[in-house]
């Protein structure tokens, strides 16, 4: 069996380490996600799912345990390499979109290219291609404040996809959307998964949304309490 995209072994995360208010959020999480999987991590607020997401996304460091991303030990990476990994191997989709307000849709999609070490000449074409994939090519010159929530999230997905990452990490991607646009966004994830075989990790508190995925990992008080297949 080939190396999983994500392999976590006994991940522990403790806040305020060594202080009186020391708080352990994750109590030894072990998780493996294979290439092409569409997995959801579900849990109530306070269950530690956001903390886990931050570690998966190389935004935060675990206190203990090992995390291999595509076979590489993330803990041994320098700050610069972690930046490069976030830039090229992980595509982030945030609940609040996190688009830059002063840049138009096209510019927002191009940001990861700007920070990439691998310069490409067809930056604009590539970004337009991504916008077309999410059906936003006609809004390329619109700024975020001229877009609806659903449109913003589609731009964000185009941005996440532009460097062809190993995984798409979506943190409550429909949380700020009404159910109809939420479904449209979910459909887009399914499309990426089915047509392009993307590995997608969806973090949500909604069982309903999670049930759409292949595999549901349920988190409770910093521990995985169940790991089972979804309805699809």
């Amino acid at each position: 069996m080939s190396e999983p995209v994500i392999r976590m072994e006994n991940i522990v995360k403790t806040y305020y380490e060594g202080k009186p208010n020391e708080l352990e959020i994750l109590h030894g999480i072990s998780l493996a996600v294979n290439e092409g999987e569409f997995i959801s991590i579900v849990g109530e607020s306070g269950s530690g799912k956001s903390t886990l997401m931050n570690i998966i996304g190389v935004l935060d460091r675990q206190t203990a345990g090992t995390y291999y991303l595509e076979g590489y030990d993330v803990n041994r990476m320098t700050d610069e390499v972690r930046s490069a990994v976030r830039n090229e191997r992980i595509g982030f989709v945030f609940q609040n979109f996190n688009l830059l307000p002063r840049a138009n849709a096209l510019k927002n999609v191009m940001i990861p290219l700007m920070y990439s070490e691998h310069k490409r000449k067809d930056q604009k074409e590539r970004a337009m291609e991504m916008l077309a994939m999410v059906g936003m090519e006609e809004r390329a010159d619109h700024r975020p404040n001229e877009l609806s929530g659903g449109q913003k999230q589609r731009v964000a997905i185009a941005r996440a996809m532009i460097n062809n990452p190993a995984i798409i990490l979506a943190d409550e991607p429909t949380g700020a959307l009404d159910s109809k646009t939420g479904h449209m966004v979910m459909d887009l994830f399914h499309k990426l998964h089915e047509e392009q075989g993307k590995t997608i990790v969806l973090i949500t508190h909604s069982q309903e949304l999670a049930s759409e995925t292949q595999r549901i990992v349920t988190l409770l008080d910093g521990e995985i309490v169940s790991d089972k297949g979804g309805e699809r």
Binding site: N54, D60, S83, A84, F92, L100, P112, Y115
Partner: protein
């Protein structure tokens, strides 16, 4: 990347126009003050230089100077020595100087005076002219930049043979002779002391008030004296002194002569001649050495005042730093997003340093434009004042107003430096943010 950063910076500055402008104000004031001050200083210098050079920059002045005693005891009993004939500079010495340095010295311009007097028309007592009769060497008209209007100038021969000839002002000739050709006319000057001197007019020069000092406006134009020039030696003979040497004179240099070098040669020449003279020596100087001192003083003043003005740059820089810190706090989320999307710390730092530089540079450029504009305006005002208030001198003042290119380059450099210096701390602070904290910042 750099270009992207600059574009980002411009976008960011434009998105907060009012705030950016207010931030830049310190820089704008600092830079424009420096430019204005250096423009004024430089323009005074170049105007003085150009004007003085046009008036006599190519001459060396010299005079007979008494040797002062060196000790206090000698001072106590010292009296200014009388000048003997041999103490004066003779025409032979001048000729010897010209022979010694033919490439440098062209001639001597000296003047002596005979009298104030009046010439009166025998047929019409109401027609008279007041004149100031003085002797000149042939080169004097050239030295004074006086142009001949008609007839001929005075020559060496006139001088040597002590001819009774004169040149008169065109204004006087036009009035007194009333259109008749004055050349060849015999005139008789009745001096204020009673002496009567006859001369033949050989030439008419173009009168220029600026060269002879301001006129007394209470005196009617008809009564104003004009200069009537006769040969130097003629004047010496008529005044009864028989002194044909010079005690104060100007040496005209050839157009290509190095003024400083020529002054040195002239001084050496006369030092040798006067080496054995116990009482006197020749002191020579040129306007350029005077200018050198004026320039030094002006430079010191300009640099000092510019330095004070530059202090406002520091104030401006602190303003930039302050606003950059505010901007970074406001944009913590943005920094977090950029980091999450792969921006390295050094890229974040670069972005904010560039933003500070661009901010300062725009301020600097606006400051330079204002400075150059105000400088030009001041130049125009100065020109207007000269034209209207000092009209009689206006044709002799060569106004040269120009901003200092050096100051402009330096200002650009310093505004950039201000950006780097005051932008670094906030930018460094931004780059030290933890991605997860920045991303979750509310």
């Amino acid at each position: 990347m750099l270009w992207e950063n600059i574009k980002e910076a411009v976008t960011s500055i434009k998105s907060n126009k009012m705030r950016s402008l207010l931030t830049m104000l310190g820089i704008i004031i600092g830079i424009s003050s420096v430019i204005i001050i250096t423009t004024i200083g430089g323009s005074i210098q170049s105007t003085l230089t150009a004007t003085l050079n046009s008036l006599g920059g190519n001459t060396v002045s010299a005079y007979v100077q008494a040797r002062y005693p060196e000790t206090d005891e000698e001072w106590a009993t010292w009296v200014y020595p009388d000048m003997k004939d041999s103490d004066y500079v003779s025409q032979e010495m001048i000729d010897g100087l010209i022979a010694a340095y033919p490439d440098e010295v062209a001639g001597v311009a000296a003047q002596n005076s005979l009298c104030y007097g009046t010439i009166t028309d025998e047929k019409n007592a109401d027609n008279y002219a007041n004149v100031n009769v003085g002797g000149i060497t042939p080169e004097y008209l050239n030295y004074m930049k006086l142009e001949m209007h008609a007839g001929r100038s005075l020559t060496s021969e006139d001088n040597q043979t002590q001819k009774r000839v004169c040149v008169v002002a065109d204004t006087m000739a036009a009035r007194y002779f009333d259109g008749k050709d004055p050349i060849g006319e015999q005139i008789s000057v009745v001096a204020t002391d009673g002496g009567i001197y006859d001369f033949v007019i050989v030439g008419v020069y173009e009168y220029n008030q600026a060269l002879f000092g301001r006129v007394d406006p209470t005196v009617p134009e008809k009564d104003r004296s004009t200069q009537m020039m006769i040969p130097y030696q003629t004047c010496a003979k008529l005044s009864g002194s028989d002194q044909t040497g010079y005690d104060y004179f100007n040496l005209l240099l050839t157009p290509l002569a190095d003024v400083e070098q020529a002054t040195l040669h002239i001084q050496e020449y006369f030092d040798e001649i006067y080496a054995n003279n116990e009482n006197f020596y020749i002191y020579s100087y040129n306007m350029q050495s005077d200018m050198g001192m004026i320039n030094t003083v002006l430079n010191v003043i300009t640099v000092a005042v510019s330095g004070i003005a530059a202090i406002s740059l520091i104030v401006g820089g602190v303003g930039v730093m302050n606003i950059m810190l505010v901007s970074i706090t406001e944009r913590t989320r943005e920094i977090g997003v950029r980091m999450a999307l792969g921006a390295k710390r050094k890229i974040i730092k670069l972005q904010f340093v560039i933003e500070a530089i661009v901010l300062c540079l725009i301020g600097g450029i606006i400051g330079i434009l204002i400075g150059v504009g105000v400088g030009a305006l001041l130049g125009a005002v100065a020109g207007f004042i000269i034209q209207n208030v000092y009209a009689e001198y206006s044709s002799y003042i060569i106004l040269s107003v120009h901003p200092s290119a050096q100051a402009i380059m330096l200002s650009l450099f310093f505004s950039m430096l201000t950006g780097v210096f005051f932008g670094y701390y906030p930018a460094n602070k931004a780059s030290k943010l933890e991605v997860i904290d920045a991303l979750r910042y509310e």
